[in-house]
């Protein structure tokens, strides 16, 4: 049990250490910026959590983020903020649905399908935009990413609502339970009459929905619809899930773990900035943390399995 909480303790330890070594860490400004920086990844990682629990993987979320953000911003130019937001989220959901349908109907490994759609969705974003960012966004739209409500960043509220919804989905709905079943043993789930294809498809659609939302936040942060946004985000999102105890073999993972995982990476980046670590080293440190986290988790499992 103590080892299961290891990511959580790591986060707390990291927090305490940063409080001690940097006087600028524990300030409203700094903590707000950590939240704003990690919100996009965090929300994507929530979607990635359910995908990984179901035994899948989604490499296309970085591209979905760009496509949804771009089309959302373009819609916003013409029809205003509300329609723009709706369009971004809808595009994300449809892209995820496309992944899910291809995985279940073509029966191709999700790694391959989403590797393909990673290129397809990114390519579509570039074709539609002719490679140019979309700028004509209403100025008030920046509130989504940069505004505050009740003294905390507005995105924190979005994140909390999304996390709560995801937690309820995983632990308290049939869909979540089936995601665990399919991920833990797809044959056993299939033999038990679980509608495997439907729920697998749904899982990718959910990931797409959250990624679409993240894309709109990213658009608000940048105040542009960028066809090149989100490159490499898919790996950061996967890392967050894995650091938080999700297993790429499926059947394991939790919302709380993923949040902790995403914030560990966020604090590492922030802390490195504050103490003036060479940014090139940040990548090395975060990479090492991923390997360490999974190593400890494997050790724990091996010991209890014997």
């Amino acid at each position: 049990m103590i080892q299961r909480l290891l990511p959580f303790f790591t986060l707390v330890a990291l927090f305490v250490i940063l409080c001690i070594v940097s006087p600028n860490f524990l300030t409203v400004t700094n903590l707000s910026s950590v939240v704003r920086q990690t919100a996009v990844i965090n929300i994507m990682a929530l979607g990635m959590t359910v995908v990984i629990i179901s035994g899948g993987i989604d490499l296309s979320v970085g591209s979905i983020l760009a496509l949804a953000g771009l089309l959302g911003a373009m819609t916003m130019e013409k029809y205003g903020i509300a329609w723009g937001l709706a369009a971004g989220v809808a595009i994300g959901t449809l892209s995820g649905l496309g992944n899910g349908l291809m995985i279940t109907s073509l029966r191709v490994n999700p790694f391959i399908v989403t590797l393909g759609t990673m290129g397809i969705y990114r390519g579509l974003a570039l074709i539609i935009s002719k490679g140019l960012p979309v700028h004509e966004i209403p100025a008030s739209y920046s509130y989504l990413a940069e505004g505050s409500l009740l003294g905390v960043p507005f995105v924190l509220w979005i994140l909390l609502v999304a996390a709560a919804a995801m937690h309820v989905t995983l632990e308290h709905t049939r869909l979540g339970r089936y995601a665990f079943s399919i991920g833990s043993n797809p044959d056993a789930a299939y033999y038990a009459g679980v509608p495997v294809r439907f729920h697998t498809t749904a899982v990718y659609a959910i990931a797409g929905l959250l990624t679409g939302l993240a894309g709109m936040i990213e658009a608000s942060r940048l105040m542009t619809g960028q066809p090149t946004a989100g490159q490499g985000y898919e790996l950061t999102a996967i890392a967050a899930v894995v650091i938080g105890g999700g297993s790429l073999r499926g059947g394991e993972g939790s919302v709380l773990g993923t949040l902790v995982g995403a914030f560990i990476m966020g604090l590492l980046a922030n802390g490195s900035d504050l103490v003036g670590t060479n940014p090139y080293w940040q990548q090395v440190i975060i990479g090492a943390v991923i390997i360490l986290a999974v190593t400890f988790d494997e050790l724990r499992k091996r010991r209890t399995a014997a």
Binding site: E171, H172, T173, R174, L175, R177, Y178, F180, S181, S184, N185, D187, A188, A189, Y190, Y191, A192, G193, V194, P195, G251, E252, R303, T304, A305, A306
Partner: protein, 501 residues
């Protein structure tokens, strides 16, 4: 050659071995028996160098040893033939036999010709039904075991450990393994043989050691002990050696199958099941019994044939359809298809009928806990904390969970595929009782089993399959000889069928 005294091993807080003792001599087949969880596998893993003991004495050829890994054990001449094959499936038989010890040419090139010739020599010398160049993935479980035996012989092993070698083999294959084990004994090797099957005792063993709760409770020559006594040592309590079941008057016809065909594994299969009936299904491995279950359950498509449930023709295209029509399948391979071993027991119990504990797509956790408590009490499922993964349970308890997940729904036709494989005597009886109880509540049961004694004890009537067809039907109280006649030999009907083809 091997002497183990007071071996201890614990995993975390769990004591797997308290006092494991064993002595094996050259030129003997030493049986190791005990219920699941008694510590047999742990003890053998210590001998084979896969685990290190926490305490006790381990003498090899009279000298105290302590192996840190399997390679050290192998260097001393100890090899283990595993229940689940540890071979590289994409390589050939010869390549597997020489894996890691390939004959070399200068510059590190593998000398393929010498490897093939040497492998062929080993195969021929022991008359294994193998060819050196065959790919291992296409071999039967028995064939794979033989490759492992070849590998052990190649290493010059003098002690071979078999972990339930016949649990997944047909009668003919079992005989083949017995023949080879006897041949190894002739060559003055020592053999340790873990088994659950009492009827194998006389066929193969010289002496027997029984473990119970991590302790050696009996050790001695087989000639001086009866099967009943061994069972008593294993379970530590009196037990009806033979399960007897009072047959019920059969009710209405629940399942009728006519002309079911799936080329090339099923050929014109026709039979029916009545409510309250347990129908046994005998046959050799590859006769099409598992394939029949899979086809009925919608996992494999059928070419033609008709399935009727309560007189109504049904189309079953997927397990989802099958479940909707009231079918339940307890698959042969529990770990692979029967259970989500990484998930907690309650998740598994409600998997097949999650709607029963749902309202509008939301789970009712309280209802799930109540059902779990009810089942674990009623079926005596010994489970630890509720969040513990199902894979941590013993084989028997896992099987009970795999069966119990169908009790929540409205299943009326149960397909049990090898329900007692790899579970201990006590759990077997409990599985039989569960089947009996289901029959009493009006279910129709098809029980596929390779253990003829078991079929004879439990089934009301027995169907025998051979080469994808039903080759005979026998009353429940029949003899193994009668079953074998239909299972293994040409009968009039099927001989005519062959001729017509």
């Amino acid at each position: 050659m091997v002497q183990l005294k007071g071996i201890q091993k614990r995993f975390g807080g769990v004591v797997a071995l308290r006092d494991g003792s064993l002595e094996v001599r050259r030129g003997e087949v030493h049986l190791l028996m005990g219920e699941n969880g008694a510590g047999k596998s742990t003890l053998m893993k210590i001998v084979a160098g896969m685990l290190e003991p926490d305490g006790g004495e381990f003498l090899w050829q009279g000298r105290s040893v302590r192996f840190r890994n399997p390679a050290e054990a192998a260097a001393h001449g100890i090899a283990m033939v595993h229940q689940e094959s540890l071979l590289a499936p994409h390589l050939s038989v010869a390549e597997n036999i020489f894996l890691g010890h390939e004959p070399r040419r200068p510059l590190g090139w593998v000398n393929r010709r010498e490897m093939l010739e040497h492998a062929a020599r080993i195969i021929e010398e022991h008359r294994f039904p193998l060819q050196a160049e065959w790919r291992v993935e296409r071999l039967s479980p028995a064939g794979k075991q033989m490759v492992e035996i070849c590998r052990a012989i190649r290493q010059g092993s003098s002690l071979l450990i078999f972990d339930e070698p016949t649990s997944s083999l047909s009668e003919a294959e079992t005989q083949e393994v017995f023949r080879i084990v006897r041949a190894l004994r002739e060559r003055n090797m020592g053999v340790i043989y873990i088994t659950h099957r009492l009827e194998e005792l006389r066929a193969i063993g010289d002496r027997v050691t029984v473990l119970r709760d991590g302790q050696t409770v009996h050790s001695g020559p087989l000639g001086e002990i009866s099967a009943d006594q061994i069972i008593r040592h294993m379970v530590g309590r009196e037990l009806n050696a033979i399960y007897t079941r009072a047959a019920l008057p059969p009710g209405e016809e629940v399942l009728a199958v006519r002309g079911l065909t799936r080329k090339p594994v099923l050929d014109d299969v026709t039979f029916s099941l009545r409510a309250g009936e347990i129908v046994g299904m005998a046959g050799l491995i590859g006769a099409g019994r598992t394939e029949l279950c899979r086809a009925l359950f919608g996992i494999d498509a059928i070419d033609r044939g008709e399935i009727r449930i309560r007189g109504r023709a049904v189309g079953i295209g997927s397990p989802q359809d099958a479940v909707r029509e009231g079918l339940a399948l307890i698959p042969e391979d529990r770990q692979r298809a029967g259970l989500a071993t990484g998930l907690p027991v309650p998740y598994n119990l409600t998997m097949a009928d999650l709607k029963a504990v749902c309202r509008g797509g939301f789970l009712k956790h309280a209802a799930e806990s109540r059902i779990t408590a009810e089942f674990s009490e009623r079926l005596r499922i010994r489970m630890g904390p509720a969040r513990q993964p199902a894979g941590r349970l013993s084989g028997g308890n896992q099987q009970k969970v795999a069966i119990a997940k169908w009790l929540l729904g409205q299943a009326r036709v149960f397909l049990f595929d090898e329900p007692t494989r790899g579970i201990d005597v006590g759990a077997k009886m409990e599985v039989f009782q569960m089947m009996d109880e289901l029959a009493r509540r009006g279910a129709a049961i098809l029980m596929v089993s390779s253990e003829m004694a078991e079929l004879i004890q439990v089934a009301d009537r027995i169907l025998v399959m051979r080469q994808g067809r039903i080759s005979g039907e026998l009353p429940g109280r029949t003899t193994p000889e009668a079953i074998m006649r239909y299972a293994a030999f040409e009968t009039g009907a099927s001989a005519a069928g062959e001729a017509a083809r």
